[in-house]
């Protein structure tokens, strides 16, 4: 009887350890094939048959049905230019130039990996919806509430008033120029500058 109880206890412990370590591995920052460019990260094995066990699991959790890099490159940032986690309580300015792709967009996601509810029902800006001089540099203000009237045109809400938590930003580059997937660490990507935190 005693040995049975011991075996059962050992099995429960092994299962708990195995599941906990699997959860940590899938949710951790580590993934094979990842490339960093400032706070932006991309994986060149996303959706690919070459993906390893962990990348495939991470893709299933955070990027299911993503396209291979030859079709689309996804850069995701969970931190600002100084490496601090993106926080809903803070305002950010995202500054960029025209990106080297047929079409591109910038989308904000909550910590649960889904679009964030907000009063403006706005979830992204794209090459064609940004207010800017044609082909020129652009700025997007990210915050729970617009900071000033002049910034409202390119205001990307990070949540409803009073919301808290973390968020992330994803740049999608459709049919990117070869330089994007040949030298992804050298592509000029937008800067994410943190402003005031409330």
């Amino acid at each position: 009887m005693r040995i049975v109880l011991r075996l059962a206890g050992a099995a429960v412990l092994a299962i708990a350890l195995g599941l906990a370590s699997a959860h940590l591995a899938v949710r951790s920052d580590f993934a094979g094939g990842e490339v960093s460019n400032g706070p932006w990260r991309t994986s060149f094995v996303t959706g690919s048959p070459d993906a390893d066990l962990y990348t495939r699991a991470r893709v299933a959790v955070g990027g299911l049905l993503a396209l291979a890099p030859s079709e689309t490159v996804y850069f995701t940032a969970e931190r600002d230019a100084e490496g601090r986690p993106l926080d809903v309580r803070c305002a950010y300015r995202v500054e960029g130039e025209e990106l080297p792709a047929r079409w591109w967009s910038l989308t904000l996601y909550g910590a649960d990996q889904f679009l964030v509810a907000n009063e403006a029902a706005r979830f992204s800006f794209s090459q064609t919806t940004l207010a800017r001089a044609p082909g020129g540099p652009w700025q997007v203000e990210v915050s729970r509430e617009p900071r000033a009237a002049r910034e409202v045109a390119n205001w990307l809400p990070s949540g409803r008033a009073g919301a808290t938590g973390r968020f992330s930003l994803t740049l999608r580059l459709y049919n990117p120029e070869p330089a994007v997937y040949q030298e992804p660490a050298r592509v000029a990507l937008p800067r994410i500058v943190r402003g005031a935190c409330g």
């Binding site: 011991r6 050992a10 099995a11 412990l13 092994a14 299962i15 350890l17 195995g18 599941l19 370590s21 699997a22 591995a25 899938v26 959706g47 690919s48 048959p49 993906a51 066990l53 962990y54 495939r56 699991a57 893709v59 299933a60 959790v61 955070g62 990027g63 299911l64 049905l65 993503a66 396209l67 291979a68 030859s70 079709e71 047929r102 079409w103 967009s105 989308t107 996601y109 990996q113 889904f114 679009l115 964030v116 509810a117 907000n118 029902a121 979830f123 992204s124 794209s126 064609t128 919806t129 994803t170 999608r172 459709y174 049919n175």
Partner: protein
Amino acid sequence: MRRALVWGLGILAGAALVHVAAVAALPYGIMGRVLAGLSAQAGANTFVHPPLATHESRTVVRPSPDLAYSSAVFDVSEHPLRVTVPLSAPYTSLSGFASNTDNFFALNDQTARGDPIDVVIVGPGTQRSGLEGRRVIESPSDRGVLLVRRVVPSAAEFAGIDAIRRTARAEPLPQAAPSD
């Protein structure tokens, strides 16, 4: 002391097995849930055309709110599937995902060889007799997901793109069953 070491090593070995099994099973589990959700909406081999993604879109993580999607669960266990997808500007793509989440093909308006995209999906190891002259794509699994992405440049253009996307078709072809 030695007995404790044996117990410890046994627990670690068991934990390692559970770890690998859990990580390996996760994509199939998540994809299975997506397949079940899409099948419940329209059954296999039928495209569904959801509205533009909002915070209420919770089927697939990190949806793009700038894309008009069409999706279908494909099932090529019995017959090949002819898929035709008319194009819309400025960007249209058709991609296929196997049951383990792998993206096994993607075609866009620049690689489509004409309008519409016109391909035949076959299951693993299926004979291709009768499919000569067609663009045949072999799926690594009998079931999976077809996904059409269309860029919607502005809200005003959605109605026109929506009308085009609803003409996409997936029709089983009467052809030989998978070979042994």
